[in-house]
Amino acid sequence: MSEYLIRGANILGGGAGDIAIRDGRIVDPELLTAGGGAEVIDAEGLIALPGLVDMHTHLREPGKEDAETVLTGSQSAAAGGFTCVHAMANTAPVADTAGVVEQVHRLGREAGYTEVVPIGAVTIGLEGKQLAELGAMARSAARVRVFSDDGICVWDPLLMRRALEYVKTFDGVIAQHAQEPRLTEGAQMNEGVVSAELGLPGWPAVAEESIIARDVLLAEHVGSRLHICHVSTAGSVDIVRWAKSRGVQVTAEVTPHHLMLTDELVRTFDPVYKVNPPLRTDADVQALREALADGTIDVIGTDHAPHTAEHKCSEWTAAAMGMVGMETALPIVVEAMADHDFDHGDLARVMSQTPARITGASGHGSLEIGASANIVLIDPNAPHRIVPGEHATKGRNNPFAGLEVSTRITDTFFYGHRVLADGRLTTPHPAGASWTDQ
């Protein structure tokens, strides 16, 4: 395998240094093969971060390969600087058995652009009635640790309690999609001043907050780990902050779009802005940014949700919910947090180290010598406009089209292989299905 010497990168924004890669690991530059076998990358002006980890993506395979495949999703991840992505369980068939999660895991290895870790369903068929075989998925080759019915809330409080307790067996975590179903029947957008005027059925903040409140109390009661997907309201932030102050093992996630966009955009009736949970108000956006800066919100999750044109280029009420986001996540978070005390170390914390820790993705989150060489280089001074048509994902439903951002992802090293070079995808990892075994 190739050796690399990344020269002069600003490491985690903390000062310039060199990073050497050999045999898929970060090594002391002294250990590179004598005689200059290593490819030297001039990284002056670039910032090196540990490869990004996304706790929340939808890769659509199996079942909706016209919207995305594990391969195109993996390429999108590499282009966005992600060396590890967690694929949500709402595929067809649902990832609720060892067989399906192993299939997704295998497809990820064959693709070879990022580490694809399946998320297992909490309940059979996402139906919220009976626990799926969580143990079998945990013990499968996919080694599932995160379980979620994402897209659907685990509403039944008793079932949620049992799931939280059961995954302690293998240090698992339940990732809850917090949405009280009765309060959100037919919901089309955030319930607020804008929905009142547009006459679109509302999705009230309380539908999210009431489930989070219940679940942090349940997690406290049974002493389990709980992760809250895509927190979207100021009230949710308050509840998570309160729970953390009590020592509840809760972690929270926010999407780039909820840090940036508001329900005012729904006035266009353009379904590119239709997403679940919905875009909220400016007060919510400000609270989410604050919470990300102060650590109340632990991680960025993209909730990358590709849809085909026919599911988005329709009237608002018929359109599917969701936005793509892996390729624009980091630049958008940088823009969203520009007014906060939030440096590149914080960026690494919320987009790499903490999600790696929560999910047990041991090969990610570190630039220390000896760590797996999962690294992303970014150029913080590369203003450019977002053009969804140029992205690797099949999804064109990116709400940031045309927005100018300052940061560009230039290089991604995936277990020592340069899958993204100067902003262009290269080749999959040459070790085929066995990169992590090195």
Binding site: P204, E310, E315
Partner: protein
């Protein structure tokens, strides 16, 4: 003005101009030959994804009085029911040579979307979208009110009608299911812009969250509101019977008792208060027969004026003619 999608973005001058054109159109409707040749050779397509015979007929009559050809499309039994997309449907119809689309759809925002996607390049008129807006209904209500409050015949041809006027200072109450009503939303915007003082009277369950930000005065108690304010007009809204199964109110009897325009409430109204309803009415539920048939209802005038107002909208959008007042 390229489209008529809502009243929220209609200026006072534009609204008054449309009402004034409608006055001219009312003169036409009184002539022996109720036709103007202005849209001869143009085709207006009524694209109705949701049933509404009354509104469709009104638009059809309006287009025909302007000598336009009319094509009627209803989603039932069409390819839409076989899963055809909105884009394919409108592009197919547009390819047949539509010069304007009149769109009724159950989803809020659909006419707006048709006007802005670039799928078609003809004027779009919103004939009611979900619970969003129904701008021609609000215009015909304003037209009717302007006539009635100005002391003119509420419908029919009036030579020197109330041209150039708004509804300044008129106290108008909209009563009933505001939450699910596109008529209410369009009326709130338009009446306020024309200078009326708008009151909403409804149970809290049938008011949208955030209604306090609207330019209105809110009342939960109908009798108290009638006691406090001498309304120039009450606009009663249709209430769907199904709402009681969704717990918006306990049952029809209680709704009717608290928010219906009963004979007793009718008797307590000032002599000059007009009664309006966009139809179709649920007699005995939101409006009593006594109120519906009283001599101060404008309900049939509203229907008649609907044709004049829709003629004005079609004329304006298809000929690009502006009123002199602007």
């Amino acid at each position: 003005m390229k489209h008529l999608l809502d009243t929220a973005s209609l200026s006072r001058a534009e609204a008054i101009s449309l009402l004034d054109i409608a006055e001219e159109m009312a003169l036409v409707s009184a002539r022996e030959v109720k036709k103007l040749p202005v849209l001869r050779g143009r085709t207006v397509v009524n694209l109705f994804f949701e049933d509404s015979t009354r509104t469709r007929l009104s638009f059809e009559a309006a287009a025909k009085r302007l000598s336009a050809d009319v094509l009627n499309f209803s989603a039932k039994g069409s390819s839409v029911s076989k899963g055809e997309s909105l884009q394919d449907t409108v592009q197919t119809i547009s390819a047949m040579g539509a010069d304007a689309l009149v769109v009724r759809h159950s989803g809020s925002g659909t006419p707006h979307r048709l006007a802005h996607t670039g799928w078609i390049d003809v004027p779009v008129i919103n004939a009611g979208d979900g619970t969003h807006e129904h701008p021609t209904q609000a215009l015909l209500d304003a037209f009717t009110l302007r006539r009635a409050l100005g002391g003119f015949p509420a419908s029919g041809a009036v030579k020197d009608g109330p041209r150039g006027q708004g509804l300044d200072g008129a106290k108008v109450a909209i009563v009933g299911d505001i939450l699910h009503s596109r008529v209410a939303r369009s009326n709130v915007h338009l009446l306020a812009r024309l200078g009326a003082e708008v009151h909403l009277i409804a149970p809290p369950t049938l008011l949208p969250w955030g209604v306090e930000t609207w330019p209105v005065t809110l009342h939960y108690d109908f009798d108290e509101a009638l006691h406090q304010v001498d309304f120039a007009a009450l606009m009663m809204l249709r209430v769907q019977h199904e709402r009681m199964h969704e717990s918006f109110f306990p049952n029809e009897r209680e709704y009717s008792r608290l928010w219906g325009l009963s004979a007793a409430r009718l008797a307590r109204l000032p002599r000059e208060t007009f009664i309006m309803h966009p139809g179709p009415m649920n007699r005995g539920f939101e409006i009593s027969a006594a109120a519906a048939d009283s001599d101060r209802t404008l309900i049939l005038d509203q229907v008649e004026n609907g044709v004049s107002v829709r003629m004005a909208v079609l004329y304006r959008l298809l000929t690009g003619q502006e009123d002199h007042n602007e």
